[in-house]
Amino acid sequence: MFRTLTVLVENNPGVLTRVASLFSRRGYNIDSLAVGQTENPTISRMTIVVEEDDKVIEQVTKQLDKLVDVIKVNDITDEEYVGRELILIKTDGDPSVRGEIMQIVEIFRARIVDIGQSSLIIEATGDEGKIRAIIEALKPFHIRELVRTGKIAIQRGSRSAAGKSKATE
C-alpha cells in the first residue's frame, strides 16, 4: 500500500543522497520523492511516497529517523492532509483534436501552457486520483512526453510536520 511520509531534514548537501541511498540499500520502494526548502531556510522538507507494508514502513521510518540530518519523520497517510502533484504532459495537438483536448483540460481544471505546430503541453495539479484520470483521458491523443514532480503534502488545520517539538524553531 502507498504511504505518504513527510520528512524534515537539515538543508545540508548530501542529505538527499543519504535518504536516497538508505532506500536503495535496504531495498525499500520509493514511488516518488519531492524535496524543497521550507519556511525555515535551514530546513528542507521531503515528501516521500513509499509502496510497502506496515512492517516495512515502520523500519523505513525508524531508519530515516536514525539519520543525523533527519529532524522529523511523519507518516501522514492516515491523517487529514492536502496532497498535490504537478504534471506536464505533451500530446499530439493538430488543430483537428485541439477542441476535444481543450474540453478535457477544462473538466480537469488544467491548463494548456504551450501550443506547437502539432503538439500541446498541458499542465495540471491535483491529487493522485485526478492526475491518474487526466493521464487516462489524454492517452487517446498520444502522450509524447510526461513529467511529474511527485507528491507534496501538508497537513490540514493547525497540525504541522514538526509536531509539538521545538526542534525547528
Binding site: V9, E10, P13, G14, T17, R18, S21, L22, R25, K55, E58, Q59, K62, Q63, D65, K66, L67, V68, D69, V70, I71, K72, A167, T168
Partner: protein, 556 residues
C-alpha cells in the same frame, strides 16, 4: 592568535581527551602530520590504513574510549573502508580523518581524489566533508559526540588540504546542537513495569546478552538481574564477556556455533530477554523458528532494532545499563525459578562442548583452552575470522567485559592482529592474545612490523591448518567435499616472525603447547608468534546449518 586548520585539529583532539591516534601519512595530510610533530598526541604509524582503522577499533573496544585513525586522500582513504564497515557493524566508536584534495580541486578527478564521503555514507554513523576551516571545531565536537553516544559507531571527517592549511583563530565550540539526534537514555516506566511483570510470570526465562550489554557498561546490572531471579544467561558472539562464563547461570554462546544447552534453552524458553542484541542471522539461524515458545522482551538503545528481525512483545528502548538498573529496582526478589535452572544444569552436564582430548595431533580447541590456563583466564583475546574465531569463542572462558574482541557483524579476516595492537596499546598491563587462522593472519601480517616498532608484547597463536578452514568445513558439509581453492600455503612463520624482529615458535605436539605458551608469556618486549600445527580437518561443532533449526544441529 591565528592557527592552521591542522593545528586546530590537533587542539580539538586534545580537548576531546584523545591521546592515541593510528595513522599513515600522505600528501593530503602533510599539514596534519606537521601539526602532529609538535603535538602531545601519540601517533602510531601502522603499515596499512586498514591496520589503522582496526587498531583504533581494537583500542576502542578494549578501553571504551573512541578510537581515532587518520589516512591520506584517495587510496589511503579507501584503505580505511573495510575498517569503517567493520566498526559500523559492531557499533564501535571511531573517528576517522581522511585527507582530501583542496576544495577547488574537488570533483575534477584530481590526483588521489576519491569521494570518500560518498563511499562511506552507508558504513558510517555520520560523515562530514569539511568545506571551511571555521566549521572544523564544531565538526570535530559533533563527531566525537555522535561516535560515542546513543548506539556508537564510526564517524568520518574528510578534510580538504586547503582547509588544513588555512589560518583562523581557534574558536571553542559549544556542546553539539544536533536537532535531528537525540539518543534515548532511560527506558519508559510503563514498559519497564510490563517487562518486570513478564519476568515474574515466566517459568522458563532466558537472557540473551549482546554487544550492547558491554558497550553500555551494563555487565553488573545484567548479573544483578540474572541473579535476582535466577535467569540463565546466554550471550551472542558480541556479548561474550558481558556475563562471567564460569557463573552457574551462564549458558555460553547461542546461535550457529553456540553450545547445545544455550540453543536448547532458547528453543524451550517461555520468555526471551534480549539485552543489547540484534538477532542477527548467526544468532537466530532460522528466524521463523527462533525461540518459538517465547514472548520476547527486547532491550536496545536503537529503536530501529526493535522488530527489525524478530517480532517483539515488550520493547525496551534505552541505554542498556540504565534500563537494566531500572528493571532491577522494579523486580522484587523471590522470583527465582527452580525447575528451569535445574533442567538447564542437566543439559550442561549432558551436552558439554567437546573435542577429542586424546588426539595425538594438536586440536585447535586444546590450544585455546591452554591459552586460558596459561593466562589464568586473564587475557584480552582478539580473533581473526573463521574456525579460529569460533574455537576462541567456545573454548576460552570469558569472565570480564571488553576482553573478547572479534569482528562479529562483518566477519573481517585480518582484523585480529591490528585489533590486538590497538588493545595492547590501550591496555598495556594486559596480556593480549590474537587467536588467528593461517589464512587470516596473512591478510594484515604487515602490522607485525608495527607491533615490533612499539615493542608490544602481544602474542599471536596461529591455529595453522593450512586451510581456509571454515570455508573448507562448509565445502565438506554442504558441497560434497569439493575443496575448491581452500587449501592454502603460508610462509615459514618462525622465519617470518624473526624477519620482522618478533619471536617465532612452532609447536607440533600437544605436549609442547603449554610450554610454548609459558615461554611466550615471559617475553615482554616484543611480539611472539606461535605457529600451532593443528589437526587439519577439525570442524567447528556443534553447528546449526544456515536456515536450519536445532533439529538439524550437527553434533559430531
Amino acid at each position: 592568535m591565528k592557527q592552521k586548520g591542522a593545528q586546530i585539529l590537533t587542539k580539538c583532539l586534545e580537548e576531546e581527551n584523545v591521546d592515541t591516534i593510528f595513522g599513515y601519512p600522505g600528501g593530503a595530510v602533510l599539514d596534519i602530520y606537521d601539526a602532529l610533530y609538535d603535538s602531545p598526541l601519540k601517533h602510531y604509524l601502522v603499515r596499512h590504513e586498514q591496520g589503522a582503522a582496526h587498531a583504533a577499533d581494537g583500542y576502542a573496544r578494549a578501553t571504551g574510549k573512541p578510537g581515532v585513525c587518520i589516512a591520506t586522500s584517495g587510496p589511503g582513504a579507501t584503505n580505511l573502508v573495510t575498517g569503517l564497515a567493520n566498526a559500523y557493524m559492531d557499533s564501535v566508536p571511531l573517528v576517522a580523518f581522511t585527507g582530501q584534495v583542496a576544495t577547488d580541486m574537488l570533483g575534477r578527478d584530481s590526483f588521489q581524489e576519491a569521494d570518500i564521503y560518498g563511499i562511506t555514507l552507508p558504513i558510517t554513523k555520520h560523515n562530514y566533508l569539511v568545506k571551511s576551516v571555521s566549521e572544523l571545531p564544531r565538526v570535530i565536537r559533533e563527531s566525537f559526540y555522535l561516535a560515542t553516544t546513543g548506539r556508537p559507531g564510526p564517524v568520518l571527517i574528510d578534510l580538504p588540504k586547503d582547509v588544513c592549511q588555512k589560518r583562523v583563530a581557534l574558536s571553542h565550540p559549544q556542546s553539539p546542537q544536533l536537532r535531528g539526534y537525540c539518543p534515548v537514555q532511560e527506558g519508559a516506566s510503563r514498559m519497564i513495569g510490563e517487562a518486570a511483570a513478564a519476568i515474574a510470570a515466566s517459568k522458563k526465562p532466558v537472557i540473551c546478552a549482546g554487544g550492547g550489554a558491554i558497550i553500555s557498561g551494563g555487565s553488573e546490572a545484567l548479573r544483578e538481574l540474572a541473579e535476582l531471579c535466577a535467569i540463565p544467561v546466554a550471550t551472542t558472539l558480541m556479548g561474550k564477556g558481558a556475563f562471567p562464563e564460569n557463573h552457574p547461570l551462564a549458558l555460553g554462546m547461542i546461535g550457529m556455533h553456540g553450545t547445545r544447552y544455550a540453543n536448547y534453552a532458547v528453543n524451550e524458553c517461555d520468555l526471551l530477554i534480549a539485552v543489547g542484541a540484534r538477532f542477527s542471522d548467526r544468532v537466530t539461524v532460522k528466524v521463523e523458528a527462533f525461540a518459538p515458545e517465547a514472548r520476547i522482551i527486547h532491550l536496545d538503545i536503537d529503536p530501529a532494532e526493535i522488530g527489525k528481525n524478530v517480532p517483539v512483545d515488550i520493547p525496551l528502548i534505552g541505554d542498556v545499563r540504565l534500563v537494566l538498573e531500572q528493571l532491577c529496582r522494579q523486580i522484587q526478589g523471590g522470583n527465582e525459578k527452580e525447575e528451569w535452572p535445574a533442567r538447564i544444569r542437566a543439559w550442561k552436564e549432558k551436552y558439554p562442548l567437546k573435542y577429542d582430548r586424546k588426539s595425538e595431533t594438536i586440536k585447535p580447541q586444546f590450544v585455546v583452552e591452554q591459552i586460558d590456563e596459561a593466562t589464568g583466564g586473564k587475557a584480552i583475546i582478539t580473533t581473526e575470522v573463521g574456525q579460529n574465531q569460533m574455537w576462541a569463542a567456545q573454548f576460552f572462558t570469558f569472565t570480564r567485559p571488553r576482553t573478547f574482541i572479534t569482528s562479529g557483524g562483518l566477519g573481517t579476516m585480518g582484523f585480529g592482529l591490528p585489533a590486538a595492537i590497538g588493545a595492547q596499546i590501550g591496555r598495556p598491563g594486559e596480556t593480549v592474545f590474537n587467536i588467528a587462522g593461517d589464512g587470516s593472519i596473512q591478510m594484515n601480517i604487515q602490522e607485525l612490523a608495527t607491533a615490533v616498532d612499539y615493542r608490544l608484547p602481544l602474542k599471536i597463536a596461529v591455529l595453522n591448518n593450512s586451510y581456509l578452514g571454515m570455508v573448507r568445513q562448509w565445502q565438506d558439509i554442504f558441497y560434497e567435499g569439493r575443496l575448491a581453492y581452500t587449501e592454502i600455503g603460508g610462509p615459514d612463520y618462525i622465519k617470518l616472525a624473526e624477519a620482522y624482529g618478533a619471536v617465532g615458535m612452532r609447536v607440533t605436539k600437544p605436549a609442547e603447547v603449554r610450554r610454548a605458551l609459558d615461554e611466550a608469556m615471559q617475553i615482554k618486549d616484543r611480539p611472539v608468534l606461535i605457529d600451532f600445527i593443528v589437526d587439519r580437518k577439525e570442524n567447528v561443532l556443534p553447528m546449526i546449518p544456515p536456515g536450519g533449526t536445532i533439529k538439524k544441529m550437527l553434533k559430531e
